[in-house]
């Protein structure tokens, strides 16, 4: 390994230990690592956005003589300039226009996507014959159809959760909690693999205690 490679491994190891030291308590070592992490990443993203948006998506497109949509990036450019009007008190109100554009366009664009993926597909997948197939199939179909129905009851806000309706809502929250439990275990295991990766780096690449 060359000098810079060894330097890189040491730096990464010390920064890793610095961040992990937060588990003990807040300390100067953690503060230094935090400042380095935040500062470098903020600078990195500023440069990335500049080249990705201002240069590639705007400058290259508008300066391309053969570009068929060379006027479209100007819309984004003007909206971006309007955002900067916040710096001037008298015309600062203009910065609300791009915000309104982004929020309105987002809501409109995603409405159908959400409606299809979260409603239509879910309903279609829940319409199942509940007493068909093996015992396992029956349980699965009952859980899918019944669980979706009771989940919907839980998220119904126009009626108080009382009586039979309240019972169904309680089943719905039980189904949600069971799902969360399974998801919790699954995600913790994936986090464990991330931790093992860091330990592998510390004890392998840095300390050379494991190969």
């Amino acid at each position: 390994m060359g000098f810079w490679e060894i330097f890189g491994v040491w730096l990464a190891a010390l920064l890793t230990l610095g961040i992990i030291s937060f588990l003990y308590r807040d300390n100067a070592f953690y503060k230094a690592c935090e400042a380095i992490f935040v500062g470098i990443s903020a600078g990195y993203w500023a440069i990335t956005y500049f080249w990705d948006n201002l240069y590639r998506k705007f400058y290259l497109q508008v300066s391309d003589p053969a570009g068929t949509e060379k006027y479209v990036p100007w819309i984004g450019f003007v909206l971006g300039i309007l955002m900067l009007t916040r710096l001037f008190k008298k015309i600062g109100w203009l910065s609300r226009w791009p915000l309104a554009f982004i929020i309105g366009a987002t809501a409109g664009l995603y409405m159908m996507t959400y409606f299809v993926s979260n409603a239509m597909v879910q309903i279609s997948a829940s319409i199942l014959p509940v007493f068909e197939g093996s015992f396992g199939d029956i349980i699965t179909n009952l859980l899918v159809s019944g669980g979706t129905f009771c989940g919907l009851v839980y998220f119904f806000f126009s009626k108080e959760h009382k009586g039979v309706f309240g019972g169904a809502a309680r089943v719905g929250i039980w189904v949600l909690m069971l799902t969360f439990g399974a998801s919790f275990g699954y995600t913790v295991m994936s986090r464990m693999s991330l931790m093992l990766g860091r330990l592998d780096f510390l004890f392998g690449d840095w300390l050379k205690l494991i190969k």
Partner: protein, 411 residues
Amino acid sequence: MRSRRPPIAAFVPSLFILNLIPFIFLTAVAQSDLGTGESTAMVSPEPPTGVIALDHVYDCGEMIDISWTLSAADTAGGPVTGYEIFRAEADSFVSVSVLPLGTNTYSDEKIIAGTPYRYRVAALYTGGAVLSEITSPVSAGTEIINWNLLNLFVIGLFVCGAVIYYITHAKRGKKLFIRKIAGLEAIDEAIGRATEMGRPILFVPGINDMDDVQTIAGITILGKVAQVVAAYDIKINMPVSRSLVMTTARETIKEAYIGAGRPDAYNDDMVRYVTDEQFGYVAAVDGVMVREKPATCFYLGAFFAESLILAETGNSIGAIQIAGTAQPAQLPFFVAACDYTLIGEELFAASAYLSNEPKQLGSLKGQDVGKFVAMAAIIIGVIAATLAEFGAGSFFVELNDIMHKLFTVEN
């Protein structure tokens, strides 16, 4: 003297052996071909038949679909190795794609809308290619209405109609009932605790930008929180990871302070940008938590792997924590580590519940109509599917089909 000619029967074995020689030779060649993959002698396989080229439906003239019946020789170990698609704008055909064995459809996207094209498909084999018949000219056109999405349009129209109806209803001053949502009831309690303790409130709007509906929902709740914060003169601290979220949050808090009659108390530093980097942001927020020790932490928006890190740190400093997200993988962590959690739809319902505005309340009631339709559809569909399975009659089979078609979206 009569010559002694052997009887005919004596020739039979010899003729049989002679006839076998070419057969043995051809078999050996064939076996040699299979082993080496090299061609020696080969008979042309049958060409693909029934080639049809049609304009792709419900697009903007971007595609032509070609389909054909596989060559009869397209079998395992057969001579066909694949298919080649040829397209002609005028007389000469050019190759547009080569496809693997067993493929009988292709969508040509390298076309110009309105230009007529003819196609032919070649079955490729080691010795060459056999061409199909040429199709009739076809050109790609634009269809303004996608009739495949008619069901989506009808259901969407129904739900939107319900939303408009309830908004009008609420605007006329009619009371709309919305049940209590536990997490939201706790907001006032949590802010009150911060006031009593004289400690700040931390508001984390997630790590996604303003193009995520969860961030928008989080910012809407921020408006309500900021009103109370302004009224009680509590410090609010909001580190953000996106510049647009920073601008929107500043606008929201500023408006709340103006609404509370205290515009002078507003300060831009209440909301500050940290970094776009996920874990850099988390490291900074954790630092803020342990140093400023906020009495209340709100996590409302889109969260990913940082959810548990934030919630555990908040827990370690003894803060009341209210979280809300629609990220299914992160909800378990918030449920485990926070005092109150707004689960999925509750996050979106929260803004309506808190604002008590006719528009938002009407919108929430309209969505409930949509949920009622979904619940009814599941009950009817499940009964129909189950009875159809038990052979209760063709009515239930048809009803089952209708229910599936009604909620299946084809593009």
